[in-house]
Symmetry: C2
Subunit: 349 residues, 2 copies
């Protein structure tokens, strides 16, 4: 099959490799209907050292089950499914508590445990805990926009949702979303669903923030850094935002977050931090009793409900995709997202 | 009057200064019945550079109102009162939200806005928002242990309570308390009051952890650092603690905290951080969706209820005081706490 590898910053290649096979009785093989490029894929696209051995890429997919291991019971060949971007057994104590990304039997696509899924086929470990059936949809004839929305449930929409969920967004709250990428826009949509009274979107790409406004942002702040902080403080009568959803992962975005959070407020991060240390002392979080939440989204916790919401037409998160490429053209997809020519790129293997 | 000043690390002096007077219509003058030395006073006691101008010390007090400003209505001369360690108007939006330490009209004792209260008299700004009456107690004849417990409501017990409250301690939860100082022990007592199922106290002073056990700690871990983390992980079947209450303020205590917190768990800090930057990225908080809470306790939010709890005999937080000194002997009190000869020192002016 064809599959995607990164050999260093800016160097993405599609190569022919052996088709995946069942390795464990809990595995399934899925034929990928749609996959996509993630904002987090751009971090190695910027910084990965050159390597002779390519890194297997991709962690988002919808597809059709081709084959199952002997112990898999929840899906069968022919089922149309969505996979969470991490795999898990969905039965352990952490999974039951809603933190599936901490499952001790789980792991990540694109790791030694499972290849990346920007490919024609995927081996899905822990298939019973990882795959969710999409009932009543034939991927061969389904509308492209429906496929796009279902694909967002693999990661991007539910990552935005996780930010809002962990921050306890609810009616009456002012929410500031830092970042107008696909996760940030998803966080706007999720905050609106959870009843936020006011949603301030910090972003400076008008074609993106326009979608944010359509999805419920009440204010857009294009400034960054201290100017951006000042603008949000002005909008909130100097009080700051009850909730800040940080969807970037770079330290300046975190610094903006504690700049605008209200005393007693919550910063919820879902942009994968590209830093380890950052301010949390008296001058940043502690002095104003600001709280910090977030992490890799336990997508599986929210997946079944979200599939129903999409099928019922209540949300259309697939609108974050503004370009589709074939698998062989995925290097162009990476380049377009990196250049911000595309918001998010869907891939049709 | 006599009042306490610090002129540098280890250099505490009691001096005669002018009695305080009403400066604002919202002020009250209180004759101090009891004050005390705080664990946070030990930070400058270790590190304060030598200075010609002493720093005015102390922020905890119970006392009797001597005089009130023209706009004060909630207390009158002769009332026996407790003051929160920070002052606030208790009417602004942040106060109403329960984060009184962020009150824009508030501030700190021992700052240019208000002298420290390790003294015979205190000027209390924002008296209506800061002082709470203690009904039915005559300080001249009250039992010493009752005065001690009432004094803890000015800061130490309710700071421990704040840690537990912000971490949402509730039945079924495992709580680890880092630090066996007076705040840590208070956090144990508060966690028990809030229904914690299991309370692991990390501390290595047996006379202190013994009180912790009496107050509800189910396990004591004397090890620190990676050995301490391993011991807590063992006690929790490798899963970690739902809640960690950090009552030290030094970076190793924070590092222990993220070492033992369970995926999705909460670290709540009330030890004033003696650091600004610390790890919060994938390897510490983010990777396991651990949350961070805490800050200067908005004691005023909890004060009325706690006064009732003490008067009803439901809690006896004053047991953290194991020594009482006169005001002139307060330098010995600092030294005893610093040497860990005393857990917490009460001062009788």
């Amino acid at each position: 099959m064809r599959a995607t590898f990164m050999y260093g910053a800016g160097d993405v290649r599609v190569e022919t490799v052996a088709d995946p096979v069942i390795q464990q009785p809990t595995d399934a093989i899925v034929r990928v209907t749609r996959t996509c490029v993630c904002g987090s894929d751009l971090h190695p696209y910027h910084s990965m050292p050159s390597s002779e051995k390519g890194a297997s890429m991709g962690h988002e997919l919808i597809g059709v089950v081709e084959e199952i291991g002997s112990s898999v019971t929840s899906v069968k060949p022919g089922d149309f499914v969505v996979s969470s971007f991490a795999f898990q057994d969905n039965t352990c104590v952490f999974c039951r508590e809603g933190f599936q990304t901490a499952c001790p039997h789980g792991g990540w696509y694109g790791s030694p445990a499972a290849a990346g899924v920007q490919a024609e086929y995927a081996r899905v470990p822990q298939a019973d805990g990882t795959l969710v059936k999409i009932p009543g949809v034939d991927p061969a004839s389904a509308d492209e926009s429906l496929l796009a929305s279902l694909l967002t449930l693999s990661d991007v929409y539910l990552t935005g949702y996780h930010a809002a969920f962990m921050a306890r967004v609810e009616p009456g709250k002012t929410v500031t979303v830092v970042g107008d990428g696909a996760v940030g826009l998803s966080a706007v949509l999720a905050s609106r669903r959870l009843g936020a009274e006011r949603i301030i979107l910090m972003g400076r790409h008008a074609e993106r923030t326009d979608l944010g406004v359509e999805w419920g942002a009440t204010d857009v702040v294009a400034e960054r850094g201290s100017d951006g902080v000042a603008a949000v403080m002005d909008l909130t009568d100097g009080e700051g935002s009850h909730i800040v959803l940080e969807a970037v992962g770079l330290r300046p975005a975190y610094e903006q977050s504690y700049g605008v959070v209200r005393p007693g407020g919550i910063i919820s991060r879902v942009g994968v931090p590209q830093y380890e240390e950052a301010p949390i002392g008296f001058g940043s979080l502690f002095g104003k009793n600001a709280r910090l939440a977030g992490g890799p989204a336990p997508v599986r916790a929210y997946l079944e409900t979200a599939v129903q919401d999409v099928l019922a037409g209540e949300i259309e998160p697939g609108r974050v995709f503004d370009r589709t490429v074939s698998l062989d053209d995925i290097p162009e997809g990476y380049a377009a997202m990196d250049a911000r020519d595309a918001l998010k790129v869907m891939v049709r293997p």
